[in-house]
Amino acid sequence: MDMSKDLVAASATPLVLAILAEGDSYGYAIIKRVAELSGGHLQWTDGMLYPVLHRLERQGYVAAKWSASENGRRRKYYRITKEGRAQLAAQRKQWKAVDDTLRGIWMQACTI
């Protein structure tokens, strides 16, 4: 399934925030988690995740810290902030509204 670019872009913020709400993580692991969760339907160009993360960092929704990884090189870990959680909750509401609306009309279409 080929998903539209706009939909992928719009879902990026809640998805990244939700993954970080599960626990601190870093870029490569986030990408892997996205692929896992979506069953491969959400295909991100790997590099594009980083501008998203940096934008969230600037907006204060996530905080970043460099620390050592298992194999000696340093790695940038991201953690969701309080504002990030609030933002996630707000986005969740919005997506739920969209989802409910679409579900409603599609269920109707089924029953007719």
């Binding site: 160009t45 594009m48 940096h54 934008r55 194999n71 000696g72 090189r73 940038k76």
Partner: protein
């Protein structure tokens, strides 16, 4: 993140990293983060049984196109494109050198500023009440250019041997500027002051492009650098003018006269230091902003063409001959130099593969009208020389006129054959580039040969 035992793979990663660093919107730590991602991906892929080169291919492909990536980074960090002006690290150097570079630049600029004051220790003072000692005029370039050369030697990581070779022209310049017993206020002394910088600029060029001097692209880079530096220098000078104005205004308000400070320190030291700082700015912001020199060229080529055509038409209409005065010859030399500059900078920014367009036609018109104006002026001047004999000024100006004339005549020919699709634009570019040393050699001749030949008058 993993380091790989496979050397070719490490080399490929290093190359990818270099490409990434060139992107102005992606900074050092971001490169490191993205590289970490690439390495994690590579580790996972090779573990799954892929060969190193296959893994690299897939990992890079998944990372996405660098253009799109750097566009996204620029969007997420819009302030960066501005900061580039001052803090951008060099594409090939590790990110932490930019701070070292600022230190090197500042110390060289201070050194240049102090070098200007050095002769004051030996009684050659710069003061508003006395005339500028001719020593300063003759040696102006020697205060700054060697330090600028040192900067480029450092920046390019050139060896000591190169440095010693490059010291030679400066040493020779210092000798020829100072051994001749010039008479007070002599013309040959003024000619030395004017021509020594032109000759020595070529030595700076050697340091700038290193071994690429003999490749046309290297020299063209230096031409671009020179043009951008000139623009930056003018901008810095404007700022300096504002500071000077405020210095006068504020100290006069408390009934003190800052003239000695402005004339003795602010202007000479600022003028020297600004060359180094300007060069560094040009180096630092390379490729961030569209280069200015070509833009100005586009702006002024039509204006100069109109000026020359109107001048010719007026001359034909009124029939008034050129009134040859002392400055006229130099004025027409400058005009030709400007036209050569316009041609050179138009060439520097042009894609040699592109087809001829309207602007190329305009350039040809500019060159041809400049040639016609100059031939008229030359005829008038030749008459004057045959009447009043040779002086150093006239011979120097005449020589320069002929050098520029030859350049423009052949350029006009190359432009014409390019426009009629018989030749390529690259030929014109090659010609302009190949001609550059001629200016320096002539300038060196004027410095070395003219004073003794004309008896130091």
């Amino acid at each position: 993140m993993t380091t790989f035992a496979d050397q070719p793979l490490e080399d490929q990663i290093a190359q990818w990293r270099t490409y990434l660093r060139r992107r102005q919107a992606i900074h050092g730590p971001d490169v490191e983060e993205l590289e970490g991602h690439l390495r994690d991906q590579l580790a996972a892929l090779t573990e799954a049984g892929l060969a190193a080169d296959e893994a690299f291919f897939i990992a890079v492909k998944r990372m996405g196109s660098l253009d799109a990536l750097s566009r996204e980074f620029a969007r997420a960090h819009s302030e960066r494109l501005w900061k580039q002006l001052v803090v951008a690290p060099d594409a090939d150097a590790p990110a932490n050198t930019s701070r070292t570079e600022i230190l090197v630049v500042l110390s060289l600029a201070v050194a240049a500023a102090l070098a200007v004051k050095l002769p004051a220790l030996f009684g050659l003072r710069l003061s508003p009440n006395e005339e500028l000692p001719p020593f300063y005029a003759r040696n102006a370039s020697l205060f700054v250019f060697p330090l600028l050369t040192v900067y480029f030697l450092w920046k390019r990581g050139s060896g000591v041997a190169t440095g010693l070779w490059l010291a030679l022209p400066f040493a020779a310049g210092a000798v020829f500027a100072n051994i001749f017993p010039f008479r007070a206020g002599s013309d040959t002394q003024a000619l030395t002051a004017l021509h020594l910088p032109i000759a020595l600029w070529m030595a700076v060029g050697f340091a700038y492009v290193r071994s690429r001097w003999f490749a046309a692209a290297g020299r063209m880079d230096f031409v671009r650098f020179s043009g951008e530096l000139a623009i930056y220098y003018v901008l810095i000078a404007l700022g300096g003018g504002v500071i000077t104005g405020f210095t006068f205004m504020m100290f006069s308000a408390i009934d003190m006269n800052p003239e000695w400070f402005v004339a003795g320190w602010l202007i000479p030291c600022g003028a020297a230091g600004a060359v180094i700082v300007g060069s560094w700015l040009v180096e630092a912001k390379q490729s961030v902003i569209e280069n200015m020199a070509p833009v100005l060229t586009r702006l002024f080529t039509p204006l100069f063409t109109v000026l020359l055509l109107v001048f010719l038409a007026t001359m034909v209409w009124t029939g008034s001959p050129i009134n040859v005065k002392r400055e006229v010859l130099i004025g027409f030399d400058l005009l030709l130099a400007v036209v050569v500059g316009l041609v050179l900078y138009a060439a520097s920014a042009r894609d040699p593969q592109a087809r001829p367009d309207f602007f190329d036609g305009l350039q040809l018109l500019l060159v041809v009208s400049a040639l016609v104006v100059d031939v008229v002026a030359l005829a008038a001047i030749a008459g004057r020389i045959s009447e009043f004999g040779f002086t150093p000024n006239r011979v120097a100006a005449l020589g320069e006129n002929i050098i520029l004339l030859v350049n423009l005549a052949w350029s006009a020919w190359l432009y014409a054959s390019f426009l009629s699709r018989r030749g390529s634009f690259a030929a014109l570019e090659r010609w302009q580039i190949a001609y550059l040393p001629v200016y320096a050699i002539w300038a060196a001749l004027v410095v070395v040969v003219f004073p003794p030949v004309f008896g130091y008058r």
